[in-house]
Amino acid sequence: MKKDILQAYKQAPWRVQIQWVGVFLLIVIAVATVAGLYLYISGRSAATGRRIQNLESELATLHRQNNDLETQLGEIQSERALSERINSLNMRSLTIDEALYLEVPGYVPAEGPSFAPPPTIKEERTPILLPEFTNTFIEWIASKLQAGTQSPTPTIEVQP
């Protein structure tokens, strides 16, 4: 059998050339695949990064707008502004003789304002870019291989 194969190659040496061409093409395809993947990941990474920059800028603008709106609300609801409105509506403050008190079973006076939740254990900040966007190709393959040997982890959603 082995003898037959050797003989066939001797009779048609182009078969060897085809083998070499095949190996070369395989290498080219592998390199192209890696390059394509790299380009794809880099492109997505760059697009996400740009989006983050835009969102950061938008966040700063929204912070400022929020401050502005809060200040405007403060001015509209300021004691001076409310007094002017009360006077313009021909209203006045309640006097001690006019106050009527009713017993309300179960009534609980309102607590003070709450601007934020009470202290809890702080969560670690999650990186906003997935490892796929920051790892090298080798690191990415290694992490995938490692993940394959471990139990599956839930998908992390990007929340800039």
């Binding site: 809060e70 001015e75 009713l102 609980v108």
Partner: protein, 594 residues
């Protein structure tokens, strides 16, 4: 394949290899030269920029969540000299919209950057949003025009506006003595002055951070978020503060007083509900401070101005006498109208002798002779130990910038004389701030517990709200003493049909008329008229301290300060939803609402 062809291939291979090798070596060499390193270093500047980010200054809210101090956007306007193509247009628009000098702007706009000239020149700062909208409209209008032929269209390229935060106080002068002010015109070195802005300056300011802003999107691994400064939520109630300020202004005008202070205090937890003083600054225009507060006018007299309180101090003397077991309410005293001590003679306010009186009557008639007797019977050790336990020998530590105090003279001090033991008992020869008096007397209204006065009820730090727990600073008297003294003061007000009484509510209180020391002795015509009172007497929810400085219509606290107390409390109980005794005591186990 012939030998010659093989040789040619070999030669070509060798040449290619040698050339490739030379190119490779050269590449490595070039990458490791000094010039390459400099280029690498320089490229760092193009990968991003380090900026110091100043967090937004924390907001300040009253106890109901109403904004007292916040931030709003304002703009810096500048010229990017590299981008200006039409200096005349830029100067014309900037001058007309911002009201600046045309020639000066044109001078800046025509400068060539470099050679000592900056690339960017600031034209104006703290420009309002309205003006920016005007500029944006002009820019959009210029941008929408289409050139006909060789026509050159106008543009304002190079005129830039950058947003930043500006401290703002929407309530203007309201509670400004408590808030203090922030020198916002200094954008990098601004600091808080007086009040909360000073006391909590570093917390409100937050921590400026140097943040690297990468130009390369792939280097953005996390969003660098600089947390804002700490937000403060106060014990102060804006409505009560406004009412208190109004009553103070009316009282000063009505009485002809030079100044005044009114404090509304929660004796149970030490929270300041309102603190009115005069004059008051609009912190949005803090540069008017020097004009409004010429030396030595304090920014907040309630914590910074000491004075001889007069007879309101008798509350503390009587508290010490009762608590030490020297007397009880029924103890009798023969008032002869004069008391000799240390070579001096103490008289009553009307120079009269009141005869046989009990301790309640001592308070009711405000007898200096009786108080002098009490302090001398207690002896200096006991008397001054009580004064120290009331915190009169130190600052209260209230969380406001600018608190001061006057040292308490004690036996053994070079300035202490024996007669001080008597005069101190009725509030003369001793200088205190209103907040010291309030803290000390609040122990009588709070079962003998003295709370640390404070303004901040809670803080929001990095998205989490932390409540500030009230702090007990001492128990100068027993609860039983506090209840007994409160009853005595309720009775004394009712017996004399005081001007301080509030219809429907039981209040305890004491008037005070403190003579003012001058370089020639105590003035008979200039006094500090004051009143301290709390209620409802059986479960105090408020303590009010009124001090009017040098009133002209009357020198007496009972005639000047007591009516102010009554007027103010009649409004206060409505704002605080405190039903009258008839309703409250009838349904003491039920919660009521207005």
């Amino acid at each position: 394949m012939s030998e010659s062809i093989k040789t040619r291939f070999l030669v070509i291979c060798v040449i290619c290899t040698v050339v490739a090798g030379i190119v490779g070596i050269q590449m490595i060499r070039i990458q490791n030269t000094e010039a390459a390193q400099r280029l690498l270093d320089a490229s760092e500047n193009y990968q991003g920029v380090n900026r110091v980010v100043y967090p937004d200054r924390g907001n300040i809210y009253d106890s109901k969540g109403r904004l007292l101090a916040g931030n709003e956007t304002s703009y810096e306007i500048g010229l990017d000299l590299n981008s200006i193509t039409q200096p005349e247009t830029v100067a014309s628009i900037a001058a007309s919209v911002l009201g600046l000098d045309y020639a000066q702007i044109l001078g800046y706009a025509q400068m060539t950057p470099g050679n000592g000239n900056p690339v960017y020149h600031v034209l104006d700062d703290f420009v309002s949003q309205d003006k920016i909208i005007e500029l944006e409209t002009i820019k959009a209008d210029y941008g929408s025009r289409k050139a006909k032929g060789n026509e050159i269209l106008p543009n304002i390229d190079g005129l830039l506006w950058t947003a930043h935060s500006q401290r703002t106080y929407p309530e203007e002068t309201l509670a400004s003595n408590i808030l203090g002010f922030y020198s916002y015109l200094d954008r990098t070195g601004g600091i808080g002055y007086f009040g909360l802005e000073e006391a909590y300056d570093s917390q409100l300011a937050g921590t400026p951070q140097e943040v690297f802003y990468a130009f390369d999107p792939q280097r953005l691994s996390t969003v660098e978020e600089v947390p804002p400064g700490v937000t403060l939520i106060l014990t102060l109630d804006r409505e009560i503060q406004a009412m208190t300020e109004k009553k103070l202004d009316e009282a000063i005008e009505w009485s002809g007083a030079e100044g005044g202070t009114i404090l509304v205090y929660d004796p149970e937890d030490g929270g300041v509900i309102a603190m009115a003083t005069a004059p008051r600054l609009d912190p949005n225009k803090y540069w008017e401070y020097a004009e409004l507060f010429p030396n030595p006018t304090p920014y907040n007299a309630a914590i910074s101005k000491t004075y001889e309180p007069g007879s309101v101090f008798k509350v503390l003397t009587m508290a010490a006498a009762l608590d030490s077991g020297l007397v009880d309410p029924d103890t009798r005293f023969q008032d002869t109208g004069a008391f000799n001590i240390g070579g001096a003679t103490i008289y009553n306010w009307n120079m009269g002798a009141w005869g046989d009186v009990d301790m309640t009557e001592c308070l009711q008639y405000s007898l200096n002779v009786c108080m002098s007797w009490l302090s001398t019977e207690m002896g200096p050790d006991t008397f001054y130990t009580y004064l120290k336990s009331f915190g009169l020998d130190r600052k209260t530590g209230i969380d406001l910038g600018g608190e001061s105090n006057w040292p308490l003279k004690l036996p053994g001090d070079s300035l202490w004389y024996e007669v001080d033991l008597a005069t101190n008992s009725f509030g003369q020869g001793i200088s205190l701030t209103p907040i010291q008096m309030v803290m000390a007397i609040s122990s009588v209204a709070n079962d003998g517990r003295m709370m640390a006065p404070h303004l901040v009820k809670a803080m929001v730090i990095d998205g989490q709200q932390y409540d500030v727990d009230p702090v007990v600073v001492g128990n100068p008297i027993k609860a039983e003493t506090a209840h007994t003294l409160t009853n005595m003061l309720v009775n004394s007000l009712e017996n004399e049909a005081s001007n301080a009484l509030v219809e429907g509510y039981s209040v305890a209180g004491k008037t005070g008329t403190g003579e003012i020391a001058t370089p020639y002795g105590y003035s008979a015509t200039e006094t500090n008229a004051s009143f301290v009172g709390w209620g409802p007497a059986e479960d105090p929810k408020f303590l009010v301290y009124v001090w009017l400085e040098k009133p002209s219509i009357s020198i007496w606290g009972s005639e000047v300060a007591a009516p102010v107390f009554s007027d103010l409390v009649s409004k206060l109980v409505v704002l605080m939803d405190i039903p009258p005794d008839s309703v409250r005591l009838a349904g003491s186990n039920k919660t009521t609402g207005q």
